[in-house]
Amino acid sequence: MLTIAVIIAFALITMAQVLNLHRLFTGPSLPDRILALDNMYIDAIALFILVGIHFSTTAYFEAALMIAVMGFISTVATSKYLTRGDILE
């Protein structure tokens, strides 16, 4: 049962990533693209969690945590760059 559930979840998250990619390419403004990238980071965490359950290993946990941290920092940095034209003041 778990195998089928993981496959269904993989399909749903992949569809979500495709929609994010569409917004990333067609987003009319820069904040839209930042939002799409942020969402892609979070969905990538979901993919890592699913891969970990699929292969029943915890080796992917650190990667997921790193992606969470880096995604947050890059979102904040790009938004701040758009707001101020500068990241560190």
Partner: protein
């Protein structure tokens, strides 16, 4: 064991559904500030729920309790409002909440440094 498997499967599919809903919101909505709602709430809850399901799954693998996936959930729930606030601030700085059509031509070029 069957109960654990059922719970994990249920939460995985529910979380993936919520994440998909967030992306559908990102895809469907017509202006930026409406698009912000889906990823902030639905995707965060969905992926957080999937991390919790993963914690339950690895806790019943026989190697003792494994709770470190809770960190991902915690981190997501703390950072999601902050990054949403930053993006909303960037968008407001670029005057995206005002009606562009009402401005005379040429005005939109002056709004931000990198539009």
């Amino acid at each position: 064991m069957v109960v654990v498997e059922f719970v994990v499967s249920f939460f995985l599919i529910l979380g993936a559904f919520f994440a998909l809903t967030g992306s559908i919101g990102l895809y469907r909505m017509t202006d930026f500030f409406s698009r912000l709602h889906g990823p902030t709430k639905s995707t965060t809850l969905g992926v957080g729920g999937m991390a919790l399901a993963s914690a339950v799954y690895f806790s019943f693998q026989g190697n003792g309790i494994s709770l470190h996936e809770v960190l991902i959930t915690l981190f997501l729930f703390i950072t999601a409002p902050v990054s949403a606030h930053f993006m909303a601030k960037a968008a407001r700085h670029q005057r995206m909440h005002e009606n562009k059509a009402a401005l005379p031509p040429g005005c939109e070029k002056k709004t931000g440094p990198h539009v």
